[in-house]
Symmetry: D2
Subunit: 282 residues, 4 copies
């Protein structure tokens, strides 16, 4: 009467710290990896037959072992190593998906120069990537960033929108725009991208476009950031953005006989707008 | 050179409290709703033309207005009202998706009976639903629950699993199993389900099955819960589960010359296993 | 030029799961313990002399070892065991403070009765205790609860308050009152309290008083809960409450030509009122 | 039988955004303020007499009105304005305490220079201050920082510590040290500090000292940071630190026949060490 129609499993939030020592200068990787497998696992569910079950504890160990055995220069590279491992080793694994988030540390300035082995947190953004691997074909790699908090105090408006009897929002040509940018980009099949160069460009171009774009809506800002990224990184095929609109609402000061001069605002946690868009190279 | 290939937007985490007074006895709804629209919105992104843009602030207002204007007896019913509104009113909206989470309050016992208008939080679980509506066809409704925390101190094992040189996990026929259950169910096209009766059955049968099932794996427990739910609720077509394995690891007491007798454990936040499965009626 | 004028250290958030088997019926303890020591530790800071330093890792181990070696029937009892250990064993420890939070699990109903070994989360509240021990004198024990979420849809008002030119709040004799109760109680020096009986009474009387009290303010509700607890538990000397006012604001429906009938509200995360009060037995 | 022996109340997490326009260049303040009052409020609790009750909603309004009416150049200055308001205006307020956390935004680089009105999140640290004001005497101001995440991959050890039979921690002369620094400093009564200059010095000197100090323990690092700050800022009287030890544990690779070379670690969320110390000018 019952049938298992879909299944997958894996290990989430494996926290890896790797220190690479090049003389006195250390490189620090702090990655959080999640691995999800699909494959011929149905009888684990239906028959209690664990023989095809790769324990998620083994997946965790594998992250540490592969991090030890392999040099890598980017989260994407490590993601490819991890994703290739499971489908490469186990015939009954049909596909796996590895998601990695990298904490971005920056060298602490000390004595006028970046310190060799001491770091502080660099802003709110994380570097992210997802690698999907099936039994056939090369791994599909996407790079990204998440949680990059930005705000602009002018150069943003929202007017000319559709109104009905439930609309109370006032039109404005000058508002605060605040958000936390998530972006993910795919590469052209023909590309051999330098993942770090791509990330660094994106991490610079996306907030710079946010800063300089005269925004008529969050939607338009997304498109402008997408256009700018495609223009600057020829290897990128598509880029997808997800941006919450983290409202800063003007405080009504009229009960206190004070003019509202676009000066005093309240930030609200919820509700929030959520705007998504994908921009592709034509 | 650039082209918008996908887009959607909406309002998230609209918090609605509705009090329904039936004489002295009050019914309390605390819902958090999110609305995502797709449709003919591209020129907002590409041209800065906001004329088709329904402000997310209007969506928020609409939640409150429709909650005021309509009686409803379940989150699913309110979800249908909301989801039907946007595609019904705006020709350029092609589909919308409304997700609702309900905080579950229980009446405080006072003077030997449940209180008329005072409530306390009832466990960790939330009631959830998702309603999707396109321009054509009826709304598609799924019910669910989320964050239902359960634990069993025996009646769970994990052995006979695949081993390779990266496996260090010991087999066990007696372990603690702890998880936080997320489940979502779809209905048969022919069904006219009583959403509340379905939820109450699921909210009872799922933890009861967790309790009594002799578990060989989280996967097998998922299948057992799915089978039990399908057996008890004829209107359900499929049910999907997502269960983190919230590990309780035996503490190694041998350095202290104490026997480990499956008695002392440490709970870990991460990493965690994540097991998914969908069970369908045949 | 510099001098160390205060110091303390310890281990926080040690997560302990203990299963006690009485035949087929299991008792489950899930405690999170924190230990803070004060004593003759200054030279660790000033001289890098670690000889008096009890590693926090040892404190963690001690939690597990003492949980294994000792039977206990309440978090307070285990707190006394833990707090007595450090000042009892190490002459240079002057005092320690042990804080424990217990996750409250309830037996899952199965087959018409509470299950032997399977549990679900019971509401939002946690049981808490703090035990302070100095070299001299008995341990000072306080019991408590935290995070007990309650809400009432009437039987609460707020009027007659002080007004100045910055006041815009409307008086009301009928509002929603929602909060998350934290309470901590101390015992009379002469008492030999049954910690579990006290907790169970508090966990019942406090929400019951919240439910039935006709509230003129959060402050008055605090006092009423304190009075009720003191009246019901002779061993308690004082009880302190901390209550956030988790506002439910009436939604202004007048732009939509709908009457506001104390029916539709929005819950806000912040800002929130915070009200504290201590009630003592005279 | 019952008596109110302590009470206080106020408003927490009032989120203020203030934009100051100096020509094209905007200054952005994002502050979260909490206000707690003590005074002659007992009859609110005991008698339901709200006549002395300043609504917390009025406190919230006051934050926005005073932010509008006053120019300020630091959170400390605004804290003094706020704290002075309540005891200055209401005779029955005996003291108030204002706590402020400032989100640190940094100008986005655009076209080779910091942007006029667009900002991104600058690291994990927040700027904090607490201002306490009683009816008599000047406000007492402390500055601080919170959540400043730092990590060093060498230059840290922990050895020579006290051992007992519950100790399993290995001594090490080379470990990772990771923490999130909270610091708060008080000023000499004679000082007229430049709050911004003090903060900027602290925000530079504290992580720099963390970076360059050869640490024998978290405790010793705290003392070193305190000494350095006192040496660099003559106006500071005392500085208190609270540092979690955010462990990075070496992964045991011996089951995989791999040497552990201080290279592969796991970060754990809990338990964590917590180390506190106050360093005063002699």
């Amino acid at each position: 009467m019952a049938r298992l129609t879909a299944n997958s499993y894996g290990k989430c939030d494996v926290r890896l710290t790797k220190v690479v020592r090049t003389g006195a200068t250390h490189t620090l990787w702090e990655l959080t990896a999640s691995i999800i497998l699909t494959g011929d696992f149905a009888r684990i569910y239906t028959n209690g037959d664990n023989s095809p079950c790769i324990p998620t504890d083994t997946m965790k160990n594998t992250v540490y072992v592969l991090a030890k055995k392999n040099e890598f220069g980017s989260p994407e590279e490590f993601g490819v190593i991890l994703a290739s491992h499971f489908v490469g080793r186990f015939d009954h694994v049909e596909s796996d998906e590895v998601s990695i988030a990298q904490k971005i540390w920056t060298r602490i300035p000390a004595g006028g120069r970046p310190h060799d082995h001491s770091f502080s947190s660099a802003g709110s953004g994380r570097r992210t990537c997802v690698v999907k691997k099936t039994r056939r074909g090369p791994p599909r790699v996407s790079g990204g960033l998440a949680g990059l908090e930005v705000i602009k105090t002018t150069g943003s408006g929202f007017s000319g929108f559709l109104k009905d009897e439930y609309t109370t929002l006032q039109e404005t040509t000058d508002r605060i725009l605040a958000t936390s940018i998530d972006a993910a980009w795919d590469f052209l099949p023909s590309a051999s991208p330098d993942y770090n160069a791509v990330f660094e460009t994106a991490f610079r171009v996306i907030p710079e476009t946010f800063a300089t774009h005269e925004s008529l809506s969050v939607q338009q800002t997304i498109y402008a950031m997408g256009e700018a990224l495609l223009a600057r990184v020829p290897d990128i095929a598509t880029v997808s953005f997800t941006l919450p609109n983290q409202h800063r609402l003007p405080v009504n000061l009229s009960p206190f006989r004070l003019a509202s001069e676009n000066e005093i605002f309240v930030a609200t946690s919820e509700p929030f707008g959520l705007i998504k868009g994908t921009v592709a190279r034509e």
